[in-house]
Symmetry: C2
Subunit: 341 residues, 2 copies
DNA sequence: TTTAGTGCTGATATCGTTAACGTGGATATC
DNA sequence: GATATCCACGTTAACGATATCAGCACTAAA
């Protein structure tokens, strides 16, 4: 590593103390304007770059927030990330990005890394494998602000930012019920992940409300991606003809795409033979054939909101916990049986 | 911030020196097995988390690499990011993610931030606005390893990882020529960005090779996203009928999507009235109507390769510059006029 | 003239960790 | 029995920055 210029180097060159250099470069009072100018000029001339590491050590503050994301492939996360980045940038914070790859162990390592790097706060969406509750609790106990987004963990004293998953799932299921589908299936997310559970609850409540029978055979766990949706849909389509669903609520859009693939492969028509709806509003949803009816999640807003909440906790040193719901909306396209585009 | 446990705290509790604690926790020789065990146990008990900041200060090494990405919305970047993350994780490095948002000023700030954070190396894809050449040169001069990926800057002594943009653009243009299209247009990327220039060159060379006339009216700058493609295509379609293109090479898939939208809005059929091809192989490319013929870029591989190159430079302290080309392939679908799938 | 205040600058300690060298005692070697 | 070697552990300094307190020159007020 090429030797970097330090405040000391600047100080020596000008035959002053490093303290004066520090004051000048950080725009603090106690330096004459003339001296300040000379210092800034020399700093530029020497190509000085402040050492944030040393600064962080003494100030006990890194201006960095840590992010744990379970899966980069989901459109939702890069989009949320963009929201997080925008807000952080405005506040002068930077991001350390880690990736759990839906793996519990790797998530645990990621959190410990972020603690070691002394981030000022953590934003996390838990892995599909279900969370490291104890690890989260340690973070909370250590007084390190942590905010969950999308896939949350409630009741451990941390803020959560998410859409109203239950309500939205209910909404989209009701939409199918209004189409008079009778055997509505659900490709559900994992039990251990909040959104899997909540969306399932929404689906179930909609059925109850309209006095449709809940049928456990029609609920298949699918994980969160295309392939899981494909496999799960295959299971449903392997049922005896009379037991097959006439409509499907997928836990998210990738699952719905997998389900669409499976359905088409068997020569079945969507929505004529089976209606399928998703959840996310992935960019592909509007251009797939047929265009997918889904819930628009506003990932960008979720990211922004989560980052704001975290920064509030960091900067106000408050430990006030909030449970924030971001609006989501039903986007009606054609895969549900509606004609409109 | 809750006070964190330090090696000193552990040392006091065991009535030993902090040096012994450091040795034990870092698996270094010079500590009896019994003592090591006691130290590790106490560390766990107290919930010790090493302070990577202090460590970095003394070791002059952060195990962190900085990333500058121009636009999160392009599918390419999250995918490249995934490749980068996988490789870094294997090597025990972490990522600081910054986002230039295609803005030159913001990119410049991002680079300075990364230098201040004393990252061990930088991976960058330059902003659409064209790069801060001087800034890059400063980084190189400071001896900080930097690798460009996808959107590169050549000739300043930094490694580059990219696909053979010129060759691939030529390939896809040739494919159109073989379809016997005569008036082939190009929606081109910005002059100041390597891939814009290279792809344009490839397009031009293909025309030359087949003795097709190059027509400057048929080349319109489109930027890199949907809307730019839409606007640029509108310009082409506003030409007198006889001057309109019968085929279009878009600089990337988002542009192609915009062009498709514009074309469809005018009631023109793709590929019958106008063929359109893209570049990227965005997830939407295979499901749009008609499925888009494009160049598959293997963003994941580009990310992986760039990260590997950077880590090699970091760990071997070599300043050997490489210009690495990642294979890309033509993906033939229907928007070019082929029948297949 | 003395006192107090103000404006600029410097000396020293500190953040948490590790490198480099030092020490004391047990064991091995001749 | 003297010397060398090795092991386990300790002491000190350093990384690069800032906080804190102190000092010095000068001005204003008493």
């Amino acid at each position: 590593m090429g030797k970097r210029i330090t405040v000391e180097d600047i100080a020596k060159q000008l035959e002053i103390s490093s303290m004066t250099v520090s004051r000048a470069l950080n725009n603090r009072p106690g330096v004459s304007e003339e001296m300040r100018k000379r210092i800034i000029d020399t700093a530029k001339e020497l190509g000085y770059r402040p050492n944030q590491i040393a600064k962080s050590l003494v100030l006990k503050k890194t201006y960095t927030i840590g992010i744990v994301i379970p899966k980069m492939e989901h459109f939702f996360f890069p989009e949320a990330l963009r929201g997080i980045e925008d807000v952080s940038y405005e506040h002068g914070y930077h991001l350390i990005l880690t990736h759990s790859n839906e793996d519990r162990e790797r998530e645990s390592i990621a959190i410990q890394t972020l603690e070691a790097k002394r981030v000022d706060g953590i934003l996390i969406s838990v892995s599909e494998a279900g969370g490291n509750i104890e690890e989260y609790q340690n973070v909370v106990k250590a007084g390190l602000p942590i905010v969950f987004f999308d896939r949350c963990v409630f009741g451990i004293g941390a803020s959560c930012v998410h859409i109203n998953d239950e309500g939205a799932a209910r909404l989209v299921t009701e939409h199918l019920i209004n189409h008079e589908y009778k055997r509505i299936a659900h490709l559900r997310g994992p039990e251990g992940v909040s959104i899997g559970k909540e969306r399932f609850n929404g689906y179930k409540k909609a059925l109850e409300e309209y006095n449709l029978e809940y049928n456990a055979h029609l609920v298949v766990e699918s994980g969160f991606n295309d392939d899981g949706g494909y496999q799960a849909m295959n299971k449903l389509l392997n049922l005896p003809r009379s037991e097959r669903p006439d409509a499907v609520v997928a836990v998210n859009d990738p699952c719905a795409f997998g389900a669409i693939k499976s359905t088409k492969q068997r020569g079945l028509k969507i929505p004529d033979d089976i209606a399928i709806v998703g959840f996310t509003d992935d960019p592909r949803a509007s251009i797939i054939d047929p265009p997918l009816t889904t819930i628009r999640q506003h990932a960008y807003t979720v990211g922004k909101t989560a980052a704001r909440q975290l920064l509030t906790q960091i900067e106000e040193e408050s430990d006030e916990i909030e449970n924030i719901t971001v609006d989501a909306e039903l986007v009606v396209r054609r895969s549900c049986g509606c004609l409109g585009f």
